[in-house]
């Protein structure tokens, strides 16, 4: 399917008290090439394998294929990944009819907080909470696949 999303920096941590879900995420990349990203993720105690294609010209849309896999398979596949596993906590916050996913990064990406919202159309309206900062949609620098190879501490 085609995934449409917009991505923002976060200006303060007041989103934490609004969150209704919180999960620890570890993820690595079998391929961090933007045209064919292959990601292994453990979210809570569930594994996922996700493949993404290149972004559309607008930077908002991207082909995405995802399958749930066993925790054991995900742990084995993480061992094969490129160096640079990403560790973060994901908070989910409802805003109007949408849900924001806010990732607080650790390790070499400590200090970085990114909020994402998934849309069903590129022009879809959504409310911006007051903790939302600058938009970074389509900026490859903020792709997790890029961060795994060029972490925030080196910027």
């Amino acid at each position: 399917m085609i995934e449409i999303e917009r991505k923002f920096l976060v200006s303060n941590d007041s989103f934490i008290e609004q969150a209704f879900v919180k999960n620890k995420i570890s993820q690595g990349y079998l391929s961090s090439v933007p045209e064919r990203t292959v990601r292994v993720r453990i979210k809570g105690d569930v594994g996922f394998l996700t493949i993404k294609g290149a972004s559309s010209k607008s930077g908002l849309s991207r082909y995405e294929w995802e399958k749930e896999i066993s925790l054991n398979d995900a742990e084995n596949l993480l061992l094969l990944c490129e160096p640079g596993v990403i560790e973060k906590t994901r908070y989910e916050v409802i805003s109007g009819n949408h849900t924001f996913e806010i990732d607080v990064f650790y390790g070499d990406n400590k200090g970085l907080i990114i909020a994402e919202i998934e849309l069903t159309a590129e022009m879809e309206y959504f409310e911006l909470p007051d903790w939302i900062g600058a938009e970074v949609t389509g900026d490859v620098k903020y792709y997790n696949s890029f961060l795994s190879q060029n972490p925030f501490k080196n910027w």
Copy 2:
């Protein structure tokens, strides 16, 4: 799981009349790096996603993870793959207690025929049919992932 296999060139085409299965295979690579190969395959009308790790020192064993996926998903994922999709016909031939898979390549790899046998232990005995040629087990040059980027016609 760990896959143990040995690989041989094929000296003549008498294996064809011994084959009990024949399938057309198209496959591409989301990553052709030997340490983390990600392969998309269509075999007959079934799709597969396969991830392989680096070979063991002997060259015989390799971590392999494989899941069947829909034909439609496989077709979409093939479009994301690196240039160099491999086309081949796979014949399966029984030899004693084992099955040989013999791949006859087309396109840029025309002229190449490779036979593989899967074993349950590195030292396992098996019979060598008279159409088997030189062993090429562990030779990265004969990996399909390598052939997709460095086809036989360029050797």
